[in-house]
């Protein structure tokens, strides 16, 4: 019994301490300095195809932080997001953002594409990309 309580407390502490700080990043060459929550949501949910400066956005999803990102951005479970995209894709009018493996892959694509917008864990941030929004 005591062991069970201990385990629960441990798990709780671990979960809070392992919460990553997710940041939305963009290409340095793009003159876009920052985005707000709504702009990020619109771009990633396919509501808006363009960036606030008028350029066509290229949202990049990643497998590692994906559940956490959508939870923080629009407070919905991943299943709901997938269902949403499934319905949109069925019409053939739009498609969900491209999914890459992890933070490094995201940084690489963002660095290479001027209109790309991605998200990564803050601890993996480097000088090749610009912070557009900090999700917390």
């Amino acid at each position: 019994m005591i062991k069970k309580i201990f385990t629960a407390v441990f798990l709780f502490l671990f979960a809070t301490t392992t919460q990553a700080e997710i940041i939305v990043i963009g290409n340095l060459k793009n003159n876009l300095q920052s985005l707000n929550f709504i702009q990020v949501e619109d771009i990633f949910m396919g509501r808006s195809r363009s960036l606030p400066n008028g350029r066509i956005a290229l949202p990049i999803d990643q497998a590692t932080l994906r559940p956490e990102f959508y939870q923080k951005l629009i407070a919905r479970p991943l299943e709901q997001i997938n269902a949403y995209w499934a319905r949109i894709m069925f019409t053939g009018q739009a498609s969900p953002p491209t999914i890459v493996a992890d933070d490094n892959a995201v940084i690489t694509i963002v660095n290479e594409n001027k209109d790309a917008v991605g998200y990564i864990d803050r601890k993996n941030l480097d000088h090749r990309v610009r912070i557009l929004l900090i999700l917390n």
Partner: protein
């Protein structure tokens, strides 16, 4: 409906109820329709809201993603429902799509639902608006109202048919039986209505008992009345016999003298042969029957004013015939309870009595042999005349036959009588129409000459008489008798101012003539001496 009404009571009742039911059902259906159309509208809104609930997430996604394909599917899906007429979906990023079907009869209030973002926290991203189909509500309401009306109608008709049967068997048929029985019962018969088996204790049963009681009562009363009526009839017959057979003619007149009623006897008295064929009602009694209507009218006037029984002998109209008809009439005024004035009267036939009286009077006043006035009657007339205003210039001639006694003694009384009759006729022929010739008795005569303006007229008549009497008189026995006459004349008022003195003077003059040779006339002169004139001498 006219076919039913008037046939019989139960049809009438049911027809009226049916008419009333039709009216009530119509009103109820109309009201129900109004309520039902509101209800159908509510129902339509509820259905539409439920439909929106069903497609809301899809619509949210369509608007959220500006996806016209999904939106189109949503709209088409919604329009497949009868209750939906028009759907509009709009998004806040300028997205808009509209679809509708058919023509809506009238404007319906649209139902608007705000579409929230499927991900954001209650953030509106657009709206969905649906216009309900008014035909749907109308049809719903119409159907409900119609089925309700049909339901009511069928129930009413069934109930009425049942009622018809019940009223017929419980009410109409027993009543008809009673009616038929009553119809066949004549007054005074012993027959009664049979008690109704099914209605012993209800109103109809009591009606039968009551009717039977009334029939009993009627029976008793009728027999009593029959006895009474026979008595009255007998009494009336007696009275009628008296009325019809009475010898007095009874009559009743109104105030103006028109006949109201009269007895047959009256008509017989008044000269109608067949009294039963004549009706004189309404005619003026006085002018109809009496020779002098004014006399009867005077009687009426007197009866009216003096309020006493008037009686008078009256001569009837049609009596210008053989013997005059006379009637004795009694007349009196009567006033009935209502204040109407009438006259009642009795008429007796007195013609015979009057005729007898007249004959007797004639006999008393006239000489039986010659038919001339008797002395008393002549003196009475002279006295009356002298007392009247035109008494002047009246001449009295007193005559005595000369040689009559001798002729009487020689030839007998029969010849004497013939002579007297002949003399009377001759004397009448000698005087004027108005003058009076009278036999004083035996062979003495008196002649009164009225209005002789001159004494010469008297002398002339005297001479004519002397000449006339002198002619021989033939009797039946072929005997010629010659006689003469001596005349004494007296003049009123010279020789007397009354009958006695006049006759006395004439008598004296006549004797003077006798003394001076008879067959002449004489009169006292102014000196007092009597001058005698004998024209034939």
């Amino acid at each position: 409906m006219k076919v039913f009404i008037g046939k019989s009571l139960h049809f009438k009742i049911v027809s009226y109820i049916f008419l009333a039911a039709i009216v009530f059902i119509s009103i109820a259906t109309f009201v129900f329709f109004r309520i039902e159309i509101d209800h159908a509208n509510d129902k339509a809104r509820t259905m539409i809201n439920q439909l929106i609930d069903t497609i809301e997430p899809t619509a949210q996604i369509a608007v959220y993603a500006n996806n016209s394909q999904i939106a189109n599917e949503v709209l088409e899906g919604l329009l497949r429902n009868d209750v939906v007429h028009k759907v509009v979906i709009t998004g806040d990023k300028g997205f808009s799509l509209e679809k509708k079907k058919g023509e809506s009869v009238k404007d319906q209030k649209e139902i608007i639902r705000e579409l929230l973002s499927p991900f954001g926290d209650k953030k509106s991203i657009g709206q969905l608006s649906i216009v309900p189909d008014s035909d749907f509500s109308l049809k719903e309401a119409q159907y409900a109202a119609f089925s309700n009306a049909l339901n009511a109608f069928i129930l009413t008709v069934l109930t009425l048919l049942f009622m018809l049967a019940v009223i017929r068997s419980l009410f109409s048929e027993p009543l008809l039986r009673i009616s038929n029985t009553l119809h066949s019962i004549s007054a005074g018969e012993q027959e009664r209505i049979e008690p109704l088996e099914n209605n012993k204790n209800d109103e109809l049963g009591r009606l039968v008992v009551s009717i039977n009681k009334i029939l009993d009562l009627l029976n008793t009363k009728l027999s009593t009345q029959q006895v009474l009526r026979k008595r009255v009839e007998a009494a009336e017959k007696k009275l009628r016999n008296i009325f019809v057979s009475t010898s007095a003619g009874l009559f009743l007149l109104d105030k103006d003298g028109h006949v109201l009623t009269c007895t047959p006897t009256l008509l017989k008295i008044l000269g109608f042969q067949d009294a039963s064929l004549v009706s004189i009602n309404g005619q003026n009694f006085a002018t109809l029957f009496f020779k002098e209507p004014i006399q009867f009218q005077q009687m009426m006037q007197n009866a009216l004013e003096l309020e006493q029984l008037e009686s008078q002998d009256l001569m009837l109209h049609d009596s210008i015939g053989i013997s005059p008809l006379w009637a004795h009439c009694l007349l009196s005024k009567i006033v009935d309870a209502a204040g109407v004035i009438r006259f009642e009267g009795v008429i007796f036939d007195i013609s015979k009595r009057v005729a007898t009286e007249k004959a007797m009077r004639y006999e008393a006043n006239h000489d039986a042999l010659t038919g001339l006035l008797r002395r008393n009657a002549a003196e009475l007339q002279l006295r009356k005349h002298l007392a009247s205003e035109n008494s002047a210039a009246t001449i009295v001639l007193l005559l005595d036959l000369d040689g009559f006694k001798k002729a009487n003694d020689t030839y007998g009384h029969d010849v004497g009588d013939v002579v007297l009759i002949q003399v009377a006729r001759r004397l009448e022929a000698c005087v004027r129409h108005n003058d009076i010739v009278c036999r004083l008795g035996g062979d003495e005569f008196l002649i009164i000459l009225f209005n002789c303006s001159a004494i010469k007229i008297g002398f002339g008549i005297a001479e004519t008489i002397i000449a006339s009497i002198k002619k021989p008189i033939e009797s039946d026995h072929r005997v010629k008798v010659s006689i003469g006459v001596s005349i004494g004349i007296a003049l009123f008022p010279v020789h007397g101012d009354n009958v006695e003195s006049l006759l006395k003077s004439a008598d004296e003059a006549m004797y003077e003539v006798k003394r001076n040779g008879k067959n002449g006339y004489g009169m006292r002169g102014k000196s007092g001496a009597i001058s005698v004139n004998r024209p034939s001498a």
